[in-house]
Subunit: 353 residues, 2 copies
């Protein structure tokens, strides 16, 4: 027998993080008898006077939202990061090797994508999606002036801990570089030192040649299920040109990004005929004090991490072995890419709207 | 104002993994309006003729379980790891730097803890728990003979992807060292090279002095909410003596381990008056080809990773920021340890049994 990626278990390497993933495609045959999630999406009205993210609504802290008609940004009412923290100085506050800590500063913002609660990205117009990207850039520049890292991320769906169905994302900026980008900085830098080319750009060019994991593509962007994907339908969205931060995108690249985001999220929704849950977010070169170092090893990219595995109600649990050993997936990246690639580019709800 | 761990956000360092955790205790004030989990525990009968883990029952693959009266181990019917995989050799199968892979070999076993489906560890007798530990040791030795890593882990509760309520764990042995222990091996080795003492033993001794994060303790073991805990009620169970693998435990240490596991899991169940869900598992020195290297930097330990945050139905979601940035927690490790420490050591269901 010959070794075959779609039949034989193997481990794959993630060169961005120096980690391995266990791929066990034969395990897809396993019947499912575990927990089943509920889906509630049909109940969302365009406007809800009790939803603190809607235009003109009073939030629990007494502030009233603007009557916004595009995007709308405000400070998170319960932020995990605050701008001011006293310096640690007391005797009990000296760093010991096994009890190290640092005070952390930062800020957390909420960004509504659109005035309507029932309009998710795949259902918006290209113009509406462009407004989101322009706001991301503005926020990135403003917060990047002060903070070393600006993390833009969207939790979508109750299954992803998202407590509000109104389309929105969050922006957490911090005085420290979080683990994930810190590790990617390291691995990208190492690769650049050896090859004088950014890792992710070499990767994208190799994917363009191989044509095995591409989900969508246009003149400036590509979406692949990366070779090292851990979530069943994880994707990586990367510009075809060397771009280190979102603010360096040209206006054609922004238009093109809006288009590809719409196409990708339509495919996602069509896959299980549901408003597809995920966490997504952007990584690019660090900012703040780190902005003036050499960051040419960086390549801007977005990741989508969707939890669903088999249907709108059966997700992949990253538990036991995954938490204590390493990530494990059932279908291969190629199989997932093929399923997504084959989805129509018209939203399954298109007739209803 | 003075910096204060229970009031001011900070980052803490995990010396076992070289990672940081964001701690935001002020965020506990946030109201919860997100997804609420369901709990089904009352429906579990002691025996269910349709449950493939019960004694004497026929499994989907046609095999009939033994009429076991203590623990019972069998090969997983849908294993993520199989013992035989062909060698990769074809032209498309050469390793490229950005598309690295390795064939992987291994085996997956299921281990039932007890013939009764309704008896979880906190409700078992010490003798019954000792039988589990003895079986863990036996499996570790048997599989460790052949494989470099033997991962024992328990997924407990539907919320943790556990598809069967019958008390059981899994054992996945592999020809490769998974990410988590590989990284811990590195950091423990580095510490040992500098200090000539195992990191975790130094850590345990420091915790004994500090008395700030201890949950339970007996003559041979200690349970703490580690300084670097990421899950709200995460704990670390460590022997007080330098022990590198479970098979090196003395019979007193085994008795004492059964006792402390019962006490810890009773506290867990009492915290939210529910059969407390978690993933737990063991890490010790590697085996197989790695058994004969110097592994003195290792210290045996178990971790419990429970998802619940506020009640039996509200869990911590490790999503968006956590996936893309770094782990974030609301209550401090000290607050969690104090809550668990204060729980009674009699199970809330004790009267019913
Ligand atoms: O083997 P089980 O219990 O069916 O499956 C569960 O545990 C496995 C090991 O942690 C995970 O890979 C699965 O996602 C989870 O559903
Ligand atoms: O801020 P939210 O949406 O209330 O909260 C959600 O996203 C946060 C950032 O990923 C997580 O820390 C929370 O666990 C999750 O429930």
């Amino acid at each position: 027998m010959e070794f075959n990626f779609t039949e034989h278990q193997h481990v794959r390497y993630n060169p961005l993080k120096g980690e391995w993933i266990l791929v066990s495609p034969h395990r897809l045959k396993r019947p499912w008898s575990g927990q089943v999630e509920s889906t509630h999406e049909d109940a969302i009205p365009p406007f809800d006077p009790n939803n603190p993210l809607c235009p003109g609504v009073k939030r629990p802290n007494g502030e009233i939202n603007a009557q916004y008609s595009s995007t709308f940004v405000f400070e998170n009412d319960f932020p995990a990061l605050l701008p001011d923290v006293p310096e640690a100085s007391g005797a009990s506050q000296t760093n010991e090797e096994l009890f190290k800590f640092e005070p952390a500063r930062g800020t957390c913002r909420v960004m509504c994508f659109h005035p309507r609660s029932d309009l998710t990205i795949p259902l918006m117009s290209i113009e509406e999606i462009k407004a989101i990207i322009h706001e991301w850039i503005k926020q990135g520049v403003e917060l990047g002036d002060k903070y070393d890292w600006v993390q833009i991320f969207e939790n979508k769906g109750a299954i992803m801990g998202c407590s509000n169905p109104h389309p929105h994302c969050q922006i957490w900026a911090s005085s420290f570089m979080p683990n994930e980008p810190r590790i990617k900085d390291l691995y990208q830098r190492e690769y650049y030192e050896t090859h004088s080319r950014p890792l992710l750009l070499d990767y994208v060019n190799a994917e363009l040649k191989k044509q095995e994991r591409i989900v969508v593509q246009n003149s400036h962007w590509i979406v692949v299920v990366p070779w090292w994907a851990t979530w069943p339908f994880e994707t990586l969205l990367v510009p075809l040109r060397h771009v280190i931060r979102m603010c360096d995108l040209t206006s054609e690249e922004i238009d093109s990004l809006a288009e590809i985001m719409k196409r990708l999220t339509i495919k996602y929704d069509n896959l299980f005929r549901t408003s597809f849950p995920y966490s997504m977010g952007w990584h690019g070169a660090p900012t703040g004090r780190k902005a003036h170092s050499n960051n040419q090893h960086w390549q801007l990219h977005a990741m989508y991490y969707p939890p669903l595995l088999r249907s709108s109600t059966v997700k992949k649990f990253m538990v036991g072995y995954e938490m204590l050993g390493q990530a494990q997936r059932d279908l291969t990246a190629e199989q997932a890419a093929h399923k997504l690639f084959s989805q129509p580019e018209v939203h399954y709800k298109a007739d209803e709207n």
